[in-house]
Symmetry: C2
Subunit: 413 residues, 2 copies
C-alpha cells in the first residue's frame, strides 16, 4: 500500500530548521559500553532525590488545588521572589548592586524556552543576532525559526574581540538586535570571560546600544573561586539574563527563568503566554520548596566538589596520554583547564578533523562531540568538546586512553 500523501505547505522557517547535529551524533554514540564524553548531561548523582520526594509530598498536601490548577504566566510568585533575592544576594556578595525585582522575573520551561521567547520578541526575518565563536548550538536553534542572520564575533579564552564586535554591531544602517553570550564556563568551550573583558564588553555594548543576552546555566558550578560578576548586573536596563535550575537541581523538571528590564518584560510575558500559558505550577512549587532554608548553599558545593574531581581526573589523564602537548602542540592534542562547569575544549593535531575521528574513537570505545557544529561562522575542524561530568573517574581514565589510541592510529595512517 502506498503511503497517503497530502499537499502540506511548510513555512519558510521550517526549511531553515534542522535536526540537532549533536543529537544525531549522540545517537551513534549510545552503543552499550561506550564511554561518553559527548553528552551535556549533569551527573545524576547530584540530583537531590530525597528532597524532591519530600517537596512533592508537601506541595500536594499543602495546596493541591493550587499546584495542579492553571496559574499565572509570570510564574509562581514565591519562586519569582526567591529568584530575585538569590540573584540580588549573589551580586551583593561580589560587590555589585543589582537589586532584582520579582516583577522582572519570568519563570520559563527551562532556559531553552527563554531563548525562544527572546528570539520571538527581538528578532525579525533578516535582522542580526550576534553570538560568540563558538557558541551554544541550542541558542542558534532557538533563534533560527525567527529567520535572523546569526553572525559570530571573534572570541578567545579571555572574551570577545571588541573590534570585531564594533564592526558587526551595525550594518546597512541597522543595529544588531542583541549579542548572545555565555560568560561562565561556556558550552561548548568551558571558557570564562575575564573581569577585564566583561568590563570592556559592558561599556562597549552600552556605547553601541547593543542589548546583551547573558545566558548563565553554569555560573554556580565554579571549582575554586566564583567567576567575575554578571554582565547584566552592570547595566540591567540593557540586558536580559537567562538562568536555569537544570545544573544545580535537575534538568528533568524543565525550570529556568529570565530577568528582563521593564522595556521588554511585557512582550516576553505575552510571548510566554502564547507559547505554553505558563510553566508547570507543580514543578515551580517543587523547586521553590526544595530551595527553602538555604538548601542550594549546602547542595551546590557538593556538585562543585564532584565536578572538580572529575575535571582533575580528565586533566590528569590527558597529561598522561598526551605528554607532548606543551612541547609539540601542533602534533598533539591540546586542551584548556576550565575553572568550572561541565566541559573541556580540546584541539586535535594539525591535519586532523574531529568529525572524521569520531567513528574511529567510537570503535575504540569512547565518544565526544566535534566542535564544528558550535560555530555559526567558520568552524575549527580540529576542535572537540569533552564533558567530564557524566563518566566516573575510572571511566575518564579509560576513555582518555581510548581517545589517545584512536588519535595515534589516525596519525600513523
Amino acid at each position: 500500500m502506498s503511503k497517503p500523501t497530502f499537499p502540506w505547505t511548510l513555512s519558510e522557517r521550517a526549511a531553515r530548521m534542522n535536526p540537532s547535529v549533536i543529537r544525531e551524533i549522540l545517537k551513534v554514540t549510545e552503543r552499550p559500553g561506550i564511554i561518553s564524553f559527548a553528552g551535556g548531561l549533569p551527573s545524576s548523582k547530584t540530583f537531590p532525590v530525597a528532597e524532591f520526594e519530600a517537596a512533592c509530598a508537601k506541595v500536594l498536601r499543602d495546596d493541591p488545588a493550587g499546584a495542579l490548577q492553571y496559574a499565572a504566566s509570570e510564574g509562581y510568585a514565591p519562586l519569582r521572589e526567591t529568584v530575585a533575592a538569590m540573584l540580588s544576594e549573589q551580586a551583593a556578595a561580589q560587590g555589585q548592586a543589582w537589586d532584582v525585582s520579582p516583577a522582572n522575573v519570568l519563570i520559563t520551561t527551562g532556559s531553552q524556552q527563554g531563548l525562544d521567547l527572546v528570539a520571538k520578541v527581538l528578532l525579525d526575518k533578516g535582522s542580526r543576532a550576534l553570538v560568540e565563536s563558538p557558541t551554544y548550538l541550542g541558542a542558534v536553534m532557538a533563534f533560527t525559526p525567527m529567520e535572523p542572520e546569526v553572525i559570530s564575533v571573534a572570541s578567545d579564552a579571555e572574551g570577545l574581540d571588541l573590534a570585531d564586535l564594533r564592526a558587526k554591531a551595525h550594518y546597512n544602517g541597522q543595529a544588531a538586535r542583541f549579542l548572545y553570550v555565555l560568560p561562565n564556563f561556556q558550552n561548548p568551550t568551558g571558557r570564562t570571560m575575564t573581569e577585564a573583558s566583561r568590563a570592556a564588553l559592558s561599556q562597549t555594548a552600552a556605547e553601541l546600544g547593543l542589548p546583551l543576552m547573558e545566558d548563565n546555566p553554569y555560573g554556580d558550578l565554579w571549582f575554586d573561586t566564583p567567576p567575575p560578576p554578571s554582565l547584566t548586573a552592570r547595566n540591567p536596563a540593557g540586558g536580559i539574563y537567562l538562568g536555569s535550575f537544570s545544573k544545580v537541581l535537575a534538568p528533568g523538571l524543565r525550570m529556568g527563568f529570565i530577568v528582563a528590564p521593564t522595556a521588554v518584560y511585557p512582550k516576553l510575558l505575552q510571548a510566554k503566554q502564547a507559547a505554553d500559558l505558563h510553566s508547570p505550577g507543580f514543578n515551580q512549587r517543587m523547586i521553590h520548596e526544595v530551595m527553602q532554608d538555604g538548601f542550594l548553599s549546602r547542595h551546590v558545593p557538593t556538585i562543585r566538589a564532584l565536578y572538580k574531581s572529575q575535571r582533575d581526573a580528565m586533566l590528569q589523564a590527558l597529561a598522561q596520554h598526551f605528554p607532548d602537548s606543551a612541547t609539540q602542540p601542533e602534533q598533539s592534542l591540546t586542551w584548556n583547564a576550565p575553572a568550572g562547569g561541565m566541559f573541556l575544549w580540546a584541539r586535535l593535531p594539525v591535519g586532523m578533523n574531529a568529525v572524521d575521528l569520531l567513528p574511529h574513537a567510537v570503535d575504540k570505545g569512547v565518544a565526544f562531540v566535534p566542535g564544528a557544529p558550535f560555530y555559526a561562522g567558520e568552524p575549527d575542524a580540529r576542535s572537540m568538546r569533552l564533558s567530564f561530568v557524566t563518566p566516573s573517574v575510572e571511566e575518564i581514565h579509560r576513555g582518555v586512553a581510548a581517545l589517545a589510541a584512536a588519535i595515534r592510529e589516525q596519525q600513523a595512517l
Copy 2:
C-alpha cells in the same frame, strides 16, 4: 531618579502581540465574593490528588535518574505508546480505523505549545490561517507571533459554512495553510460539530488540499453520549490532532500532545527541541503512571457527572430567571445547551453589549467573559461565555440571579 533607558528594538511581531483581553478581564473579576462564570478553569475537585501523590513517590523511587535527567524531545516513550493506544481504542469504539503510531505522537508542554509549534512550522508572515467564528482566543495568540492573516470562516451550531470555507481557502493564487477547528464542546461556545458537518468538512478539506488542525481538549467531557468521531481519524495524512491532559487529569502539570503525519512530524520535533528541549520528563512519567490500569475509564466519568450536574443547574437557573427566552428571544437572554465540556454560550437582548454589561454584573457579584474577543472577524457584541464548572450549584443559582438583575437594570435605563 529617572528610569534607566536603553534603545531596545522589538521585532515587528512583538507589536502585533497583545495582552490577553480575557486575562485583563479576569483580573477585574478576581475580587473576593464575586461568583465567576468567567474563568476557563477545570474544577479542582476533579484533580486526582491521591493518585498523583502515589505516582510522584513511585516515579522518584523506581527511576529517579531517568525522571530528573534530560530526555528525548519526542517525549517519554511509554507515554507516547499510551496516547497512541488510547486514541486508537477510542476511534475503534466509534467504528473508525485510526491506527495511531507512537512514532507520530509528540508530547507537548500543554496543548498550547502544540499551537505554537504548528504555527512555527506552517505559517509564514502574510500567509493565511483559517479559524471558526468564534474561536479559541489562545490559538489566535499562538498564531500571531508568526505574523499570519487569521481569517474567520462563518460557523453556526452545526459546524462550518462550507461555501464560505471554499471562498477563503484560496486567495491570490495561494492556499490557506490550515483550518483550525475545535469540534467538541468548543471554547468559547460549547458547540459540537454534527456528524454530517464533520463528514462534509473532511471531504471538502481533502478536495481543497486544506490541512485540518483539530484541537480536542474537551472531547472526553461528554455528558450523555460521546461526540461524533474525530476529523483527523478520517484523513490522518491531512491533519494534525492536538490533545491535552489538562481537563481529564490536571492543567498544572502542563501536559498535552500532538499527533502529526510523517510529512510534518520531523519539523514539529525540531521546533519542539528549539522551544524547550523536551517537556518535563518527571511530569510525563507522573501522567503515565496515573493512567495505568485504565484509571481514566474510572476517573473521567466522575468529571462528566459533576460537570453535567453543574450544566443542568445553570440551564435550570437560566430558564427560571429568563422565562421569556423562547417567546421573546430578542428581549431576553438566550443560550445554548452544550452536550459536554465547560462552557455555555449566551446572547444578550437586542441593543445590549456584553463588554458594557460586565462592570455592572461585577457590581452585582457575578462575572462572565464577553464573547467579542473570541472573534477573529466581526464580533457579536451581544455574546458572552459562561463557564459552569468552577462555581458550585448553589453559586450558579445565585450568580444567574445576579446576572439577571444586572441585565434588567441595564434594560430599564
